[in-house]
């Protein structure tokens, strides 16, 4: 791997920023131009990410930096872990954009919505490419600022309340994050991300300080990653429009937090130091608790989107769990789940939004017989649900397999029990939905909904089918080159030699 100064990392970040500003400046009425801009930017971004990926595969790491504050650069650096997250968000942004254009057809203030939507992806890209913790922090905060307007988009009382809760958690967490960052800077100076951990190389004695720093920063990440007990904002944020929920849960906010934990453990502290400080086990326990507790809470929800939200709380912690256990196999499991959870959960949110828009179905007991009216959406939803449970050959199975095997390999067999419990709970809260849709008779009247044009319906159904297809493909083709699994294994080789 050789680092090369290259404009690509900043260009890929700026593309969606400029698109976002242009969309907001265009105003409400230029709908066609806005759609064109949206899609062009999304496709362009995907192309650029692929370009970077090709560079990285050739062993080149493109780097872009300029001074931000004394001692710290704004450093954008596309290593293979960046590519994993960047390609996930580029792909999912494209499908979500298509979905959102259809879904938001009858909403107000769409220029503002799509403007912030694009800035949100800018932040996600910045997080993916961030080459040190300060850069990460900058984009992490930008993400908070860009997602808040999306959460409160409708301006209803409930939305504003959810926005307040969201800010209370995220800004509170980031205040701790910043203190941790300052502390780390005072202790160890400027630190760029290094595979295997930059702090491990310094051989610092200040173990107590290091632990405190880790906890402070992990709380900052944990808020967005919805680690229990920092998760309470996520279910209330469900008042946001469905594409926002999809984005929040699959690529943007929650995933950014999980990705941050990966960076913190793998690139800052390093697996060795994390384990030595006892932090790996602590994080693994926190993640395990979140996995089980989130699932239990999900079981108690009668609202479809809220059940999905608690399911996210549970599922995202697989990533933290994998990275916390350490060892090559579990690391692969955690990293690959970053992608797998994304495609599965986004499918389910797309479908939930479709159900609500077309049939007015928002509660679980209203799902009966839904497959008869919306077979394609129901099929996509079911594939994703089975994948989440971990049924082979879906993507979720691959993640769980690697997590379990990795835990056994490093002697943490208790993790297997957590995985089994989680799988049972997943089945308990997802299988009834699937069986209701396919096996129960349809009601005479649906709760409500509208009859949009065929284009709009297609715009909502097709993205879900695409991501459901990816769910299957990532599982079936896991062994082929360039599958997420293959890429995650390549990354793990860098991190755990």
């Amino acid at each position: 791997m050789t680092e090369v100064v290259h404009p690509l990392p900043i260009v890929v970040v700026l593309v969606s920023l400029l698109a976002g500003l242009a969309i907001a400046a265009l105003g409400e009425r230029r709908q066609r131009l806005r759609t064109v801009l949206n899609l062009t930017a999304a496709v362009l971004k995907l192309g650029l990410v692929l370009w970077i990926a090709l560079l990285v595969m050739d062993g080149v790491v493109p780097v872009f930096r300029f001074p931000l504050v004394p001692g710290f650069d704004l450093l954008l650096r596309a290593d293979s872990l960046s590519i994993l997250f960047a390609s996930l968000s580029a792909v999912l942004w494209l499908v979500t954009t298509v979905y959102a254009i259809a879904y938001m057809e009858h909403y107000d203030n769409r220029a503002r919505f799509f403007g912030f939507f694009s800035i949100c992806v800018t932040a996600t890209m910045g997080i993916a490419m961030a080459g040190n913790l300060l850069t990460f922090f900058v984009f992490y905060e930008l993400l908070t600022l860009a997602t808040w307007p999306l959460v409160v988009h409708t301006g209803s009382r409930a939305a504003l309340r959810a926005g307040r809760t969201y800010l209370r958690f995220t800004l509170g967490g980031s205040a701790l994050f910043l203190v941790g960052l300052i502390w780390l800077y005072a202790l160890a100076g400027t630190q760029d991300f290094i595979a295997g951990g930059s702090l491990g190389l310094l051989e610092l004695d200040a173990h107590a300080s290091l632990r405190a720093i880790f906890v402070l920063i992990a709380i900052g990440m944990g808020v967005k990653a919805a680690l229990v007990p920092l998760h309470a904002w996520l279910p209330t944020a469900m008042v946001a429009p469905a594409p926002v929920s999809a984005l929040l849960h699959a690529v943007a906010v929650v995933k950014a937090g999980a990705f941050g934990l990966v960076r913190l453990v793998a690139d800052v502290f390093g697996g060795g130091l994390t384990a030595e400080l006892g932090l790996g086990l602590a994080l693994a326990i926190a993640a395990s608790f979140t996995i089980v507790y989130g699932s239990v809470l999900a079981l108690g929800q009668s609202d479809l989107k809220r059940r999905l939200a608690y399911s996210t709380v549970s599922q995202v912690s697989y990533i933290a769990l994998g990275i916390a256990i350490g060892g090559p196999i579990a690391t692969v499991g955690g990293m690959v789940h970053l992608v797998h959870q994304g495609v599965m959960k986004i499918t389910m949110f797309f479908c939930a939004g479709t159900f609500a828009t077309l049939l007015g179905v928002t509660r679980i007991d209203e799902l009966d017989g839904l497959a008869r009216r919306l077979p394609w959406s129901a099929a996509a939803f079911s594939v994703a649900a089975l994948g989440m449970i971990g049924l082979p050959p879906m993507a979720g199975f691959v993640s769980k397999w690697y997590l379990g095997a990795g835990a056994v390999a490093v002697g943490q067999t208790w993790v297997v029990a957590v995985l089994v419990a989680s799988t049972l709970l997943n089945a308990a809260y997802f299988l009834p939905l699937v069986s209701r849709m396919w096996l129960r008779p349809a009601p005479d009247r649906w709760p409500g909904g509208s009859q949009p044009s065929a284009w709009v319906t297609a715009g909502m159904v097709v993205p879900a089918l695409v991501t459901a297809g990816l769910t299957i493909a990532f599982g079936v083709l896991a062994g082929s080159t360039l599958s997420p699994l293959d890429w995650a294994i390549a990354i793990a080789r860098e991190y755990v030699p």
């Binding site: 203030n109 910043l178 203190v179």
Partner: protein, 486 residues
């Protein structure tokens, strides 16, 4: 070249003001624009000379100290002048629309405005305790007149209160000047700094001077005049009062403390100043949250932000100096943007009640955007000038092991988030009732847009400052007080 630049900075606006009073009405706009546009070119050679390490001095009319008055420009003065010129130019853009020079309101506004600019610049150039007194008095008088310029009853009361307290503060300052002169036999700030020795008289002098300056800078608990004065003043005036005028008093205090020997007053005095700052941050932020009127909220936010400057005294390190001066610049720009945006919203909605903001996000998007962007900097979130300032200040506090300050800074920025988002949330809320009063005539519309553009430009500058902080930090670092090592 540099001495001409110095004189231009003060005399161009002054001449503009004087000429405007006697010139015909339609000449007012060109005179104003001309006298303001000479400012940036005048700053260029000055900045260049200071960056090259020169200390630019100019004995006025050729009389040397002690009888003559000497202007002296170092990196700190240049930093303040850069801030002043940037803010004044962009706020003037707003004022061109909100106080059209050819109309009656503009005829009253513009000469005062130019005199304020001139006296502010003279203040930043002065290196003499008495000269600082004179310029500070001029700044106060011009500021008071500007607050009352529209003749609104509430504004006049606020102006009167500001005037009375300001005059009293000046007398405290003058009394202290006399004490220092009696002790050292000079009024030159730098010579005073060299000759002053610790002792009872010094302590009394510094206490008196600090009290006067803190009154002018509205540091809690000496702040009672500020919210009304800044809240009731017309938009451009509030912007400059918050961005520059209160900072001028703090500028003198910093000069006195670190250059003029005020630090002789001791560590406990420094700690006291820091505690006042912490109090200002916490109390004024909480008060801002409780406000029901938009501009009052912004005014209380100014009080809170001024508190951060006070942390320089107990921390007293190179890092803290750099952080605080950067904060002064970042806050000046962001707060000017915020006041302009608030004034625009207030004008468009016809009420300054916060509740009336509901739904303003979609109808007055530009102003809400400007407010929000400025808010990002005020909250200290990246990427913005406010974030860089917060980062530097936290790092400095950490280095000095000032854990309490770290907590205050963190809590302060969270409180700031509460009041900023209170406003922005309301702008996103569903409107209470449709529709508002019909849009006014075409010309008014054009002017309204110019005022929004001015706010937005300032807000954008507040953000850009966070991405391009390196040159400014380099400039600030060059002006470290004597004895403060990097």
């Amino acid at each position: 070249m540099t001495t001409e630049a110095l004189t231009l900075l003060v005399f161009a606006p002054l001449a503009g003001a004087l000429v405007m009073v006697v010139a015909p009405r339609r000449a007012a706009a060109p005179i104003a624009v001309l006298s303001l546009l000479t400012l940036p070119p005048a700053l260029v050679p000055l900045t260049r000379a200071v960056r090259a390490g020169e200390l630019v001095q100019l004995p006025l009319a050729g009389f040397a100290a002690p009888l003559g008055i000497v202007w002296r420009v170092d990196a700190l003065a240049v930093t303040m002048l850069l801030l002043s010129v940037a803010v004044v130019l962009l706020v003037s853009l707003h004022a061109l629309a909100s106080f059209p020079p050819e109309r009656e309101s503009g005829q009253r506004f513009w000469p005062l405005w130019l005199i304020l600019v001139s006296s502010l610049h003279a203040l930043f150039l002065s290196a003499d305790l008495f000269n600082l007194y004179v310029t500070l008095e001029l700044v106060t008088l011009a500021g008071v007149a500007l607050i009352a310029v529209r003749g609104e009853p509430a504004a006049m009361r606020a102006a009167m209160r500001y005037l009375l307290l300001g005059l009293m503060a000046s007398l405290f300052y003058l009394l202290a000047t006399a004490l220092l002169y009696g002790q050292t036999g000079t009024l030159d700030l730098y010579l005073v700094g060299e000759r002053l020795e610790a002792g009872g008289l010094t302590a009394i002098a510094v206490a008196l001077m600090a009290t006067g300056l803190l009154l002018k800078a509205a540091i809690v608990p000496l702040h009672v005049w500020l919210p009304a004065a800044h809240g009731k003043a017309p938009g451009p005036v509030s912007a400059v009062l918050s961005a520059l005028v209160v900072k001028a008093a703090l500028y003198i205090l910093i000069r006195l403390w670190f250059w003029g020997g005020g630090g002789q007053a001791g560590e406990h005095a420094a700690l006291l100043l820091g505690v006042l700052g912490a109090l200002a941050i916490l109390y004024a932020s909480a008060a801002a949250i409780a406000q029901r009127r938009l501009k009052m909220l912004v005014a209380y936010s100014t009080l809170a932000q001024l508190g951060y400057v006070m942390l320089l005294f107990p921390l007293a390190s190179a890092g803290a100096y750099r952080a605080v001066v950067f904060h002064v610049v970042a806050h000046g720009i962001a707060k000017a943007a915020m006041f302009l945006a608030a004034a625009n919203l207030l004008r468009a909605l016809g009420s300054e009640r916060l509740q009336r903001l509901a739904g303003a996000g979609s109808r007055h998007g530009l102003d809400v955007l400007a407010f929000a962007l400025a808010g990002v900097s005020i909250m200290g979130l990246p990427p913005s000038g406010g974030f860089v300032a917060k980062w530097l200040l936290l790092a400095a506090a950490w280095q000095e092991r000032g854990w309490a300050w770290v907590v205050v800074i963190s809590v302060g920025s969270l409180l700031a988030a509460v009041y900023v988002f209170r406003v922005v949330s309301l702008a996103f809320a569903q409107p209470l009732r449709e529709p508002e009063r019909a849009a006014s005539a075409g010309e008014e519309q054009g002017r309204a847009q110019l005022t929004s553009v001015a706010a937005l430009l300032l807000a954008a500058l507040a953000i850009v400052l966070g991405l391009a902080s390196a040159p400014l930090i380099a400039l600030i670092d060059q002006g470290l007080p004597p004895g403060m090592l990097r």
